[in-house]
Symmetry: C2
Subunit: 482 residues, 2 copies
């Protein structure tokens, strides 16, 4: 069917409608989409207001045209890219801070605002938005909420979602609701806000968020600790977290990642497992750091360097460079889709052992690292993804690791969402009845499948997804992280 | 229609089916139901297992019989009592601790377990379930989750829901799902767990919960502070919270409540506004208390007494006795339905001023108190609810306060849920489009309205609820707190 977009000509918008090739191209993929998997929208709409979003969605719904919301494009699972053309609804021009209420520790900010911009606006009040993920410098508040993002500080402050009080959302019929409450707690009705969080724009388009804030900590210190074995490092982390060390970040990198990092930055770090930590406090930070050190020492701690300010940033640089280091490690090897499994923390050492075993079994170089305090593990299966046979083999290794995580009571995706890339794991993780319940909700709120069709749910008649239920079959991964 | 319950005879259950008058009577009301509003179920099923719940729900769904889950009966809004007979599904015999995983700070506990029992089971691990509400000694974990409960410690630890990782739930067709994940974070699929929290058994029946736990704090101290005026007290609270004082409880009682308490316990407390505080820490508790005191002093603090252990409990006794004190204050006056509004904390002084103004305007004695750190305010409109005219007048005063809270960006119910009593405020608070979205979800997951019919949503054709949208009309309140 060739869709007719002439209905757009009659709409009055504050923003802009574009069919320019460059705009369509710019909305065809995200950070995780391989070039050959990009799908261009037919039209890009740059919304400027909630009314714009409502107008477009309502008209598109009437005309059976799919609308896929798009923001910074930093997703990794194809969460915000079209699978069948239609309208890409770009929210990045809706980036105003509507109101800051310092006495309530609240900000109302439009969906397209970049994370760091929010913190800049809050600086003069001594406040900040604590759960910002590492991508906060480039990704939008709306995108973070839509994918249920989290990050390094989640171990102390929780996920982005935990700091969202209310959402202004445009539903598939164009109606505008406020879900949640500006009161810090409510038990009134269904938790629509929580349902919309992580729904990846398939149930509604987030146009504005009321976020909770916190005072900036007066003391910040951090650094890194070196352990002899990966097992010591993971057990030290697990012990620290369950002992209640008040740590704001606690990140693991394995010796393979240390190797990559050395190679990238031309440094001579020990090629050993390292744990990166950061502490936030208003008083007593050194006492807390000592508490942490004492626990680390019972796990064969070799060295622990702690600093503040610029020196702390230097100690952390290795952790920050990982993705670049992995990408540049070998010009013949791609990093593939970034793993994002999360397991209960007691299973973290076992999960890492699984990574090692699978890497050996499939004969790939698989550096792993991640937000260990949450049991969240990232990994790259380094392979030549241009070679179809090797790519299939690497994808199988990757998928096998996801299956193992699920078996360890974990999840396929801790913070990147499902998008297209992880659809095949939905039934394995949640069971058919739960996925059917999710489908029923989608059907109830978006009966014409106007919003972001094709995401989250495995295609019912797709043999590829059937295959994914059989571990002996090779798995197709649609996205690649470049 | 006379329903035929003979199909129950063919079901094999681990638990028990009863049509005894005493059992039916015991499941006809909750703490908030006036005797004359009680509705007996036709049958009470005491489930012993998830399979029981599934068997009953599935069969009832097939036979078009409503099922209302019931636990400790401590609800205040008729959340768990039938409105039209049917089956009362009692979960209190499902109270096992299935597993404690101290290394993961997790417990799997069945829905019927009492809050305090969970903490007793955890004691030997040095762990506890932090967000337990004040009713924790008598109410069940399942009931708390189903009504999105919270309480005094929420200001530090968050709501019950914030500590729920996963739920085992029986859906209306009898299928059993696990919603959420035992990993501490996941971004996989729709947040069914969050949707089920607070859905009051209208979308599914919770049979087991995986809860997050925390280490017991090594230091606990608390007590009370006396202020000259209510405004000083509320501003002191607001200032302490926004300044980031790490307080575990911060509760207000007004001078009217102090009067009640004196009368009840025959004490000679100052009849002035008081703020009750409790601090939890692993180190530095006195430093934190000093920080709090310094802030209180800028708001005309008159006296602050802090203690630990038994002495602390004594200081807190007044706060604990409030409901009893209010009930016994005057034999001719009933406390009516307990108010539970919550507003952004900056609006808390304004909300309390509204209570005073409305009390004066309607000429009722209205003591108020509550979880001030969250902006949550409880109040009683003391009146003779047996006198229809006075009852209507008191209900109007009560409802007017709810409307004012909503206008202050607040919510009708911070922690008691909607049930029957607060249905009339749903559209005012959320707007029609949001309530329609909630209705669509109900319809999608429970098309035959098998589970807890008549709750949360205002009856569409009920003129009483129409009236509630007009402030000039008298409002009917269906529940009363006894």
């Amino acid at each position: 069917m060739v869709n007719d977009y002439s209905f757009l000509d009659n709409l009055e918008l504050d923003g802009e409608i574009s069919q320019a090739q460059s705009d369509r191209r710019n909305h065809a993929g995200d950070f995780g989409t391989r070039d050959e998997d990009e799908v261009e929208p037919n039209v890009v709409v740059f919304a400027k207001s909630t009314t714009d979003v409502s107008t477009i969605v309502s008209a598109a719904n009437d005309h059976d045209i799919p609308v896929t919301p798009y923001a910074a494009g930093t997703g990794l699972e194809g969460n915000a890219t079209p699978i069948e053309g239609g309208i890409s609804l770009d929210t990045t021009r809706m980036d105003s801070v509507r109101e800051i209420r310092p006495d309530d520790l609240q900000i109302d900010v439009e969906a397209g605002a970049i994370g760091d911009e929010v913190n800049e606006a809050l600086e003069r009040y001594g406040l900040f938005f604590p759960p910002l993920p590492s991508s906060g410098a480039i990704s939008t508040i709306g995108g973070m909420i839509a994918t249920d993002a989290s990050g390094q500080r989640t171990v102390k402050y929780g996920e982005v979602a935990d700091w969202v009080l209310a959402l202004e959302v445009v539903l598939p019929d164009g109606s505008v609701i406020e879900a949640g409450s500006k009161a810090v707690k409510t038990s009134s009705g269904y938790n629509l806000k929580e349902l919309l969080v992580g729904s990846e724009g398939t149930l509604g388009i987030i146009t504005c968020a009321t976020l909770k804030l916190a005072g900036r900590p007066e003391q910040v210190k951090g650094g890194r600790a070196v352990f002899p074995t990966l097992n010591d490092a993971t057990e030290a982390i697990s012990d620290a977290v369950t002992s209640g060390v008040d740590v704001a970040k606690i990140e693991l990198i394995d010796d393979r990642t240390a190797l990559l990092a050395n190679d990238y930055a031309d440094t001579d770090l020990p090629e050993q497992p390292m744990v990166f930590v950061e502490f936030h406090a208003n008083h007593g930070i050194d006492e807390e750091i000592d508490f942490c050190r004492t626990i680390f020492e019972t796990h064969e701690l070799e060295r622990m360097e702690i600093a503040a300010g610029e020196k702390m940033e230097q100690l952390w640089q290795v952790r920050k460079d990982i993705t670049y280091a992995a990408e540049e490690y070998d010009p013949d090897l791609d990093i593939g889709p970034p793993g994002d499994v999360t397991v209960p923390i007691s299973q973290y050492p076992e999960m890492i052992a699984e990574v090692r075993a699978i890497a050996e079994e499939y004969d790939f170089f698989v550096p792993c690292f991640g937000h260990a305090g949450d049991g969240n593990l990232h990994y790259f299966v380094l392979a030549d993804y241009d070679d179809p046979e090797e790519a299939a083999h690497a994808q199988e290794a990757y998928a096998t690791l996801v299956e193992r995580a699920i078996k360890l009571n974990g999840t396929a995706t801790g913070e990147h969402g499902i998008g297209v890339g992880k659809r095949k794991f939905m039934e394995r993780e949640h069971g058919e009845a739960a996925v059917d319940a999710m489908r029923a909700i989608k059907q109830a709120l978006d009966p014409k499948e106007t919003l972001n069709p094709g995401k989250i749910f495995p295609p019912k008649d797709d043999s590829e997804d059937e295959d994914s239920r059989d571990e002996s079959e090779s798995l197709e991964i649609d996205t690649d992280s470049g």
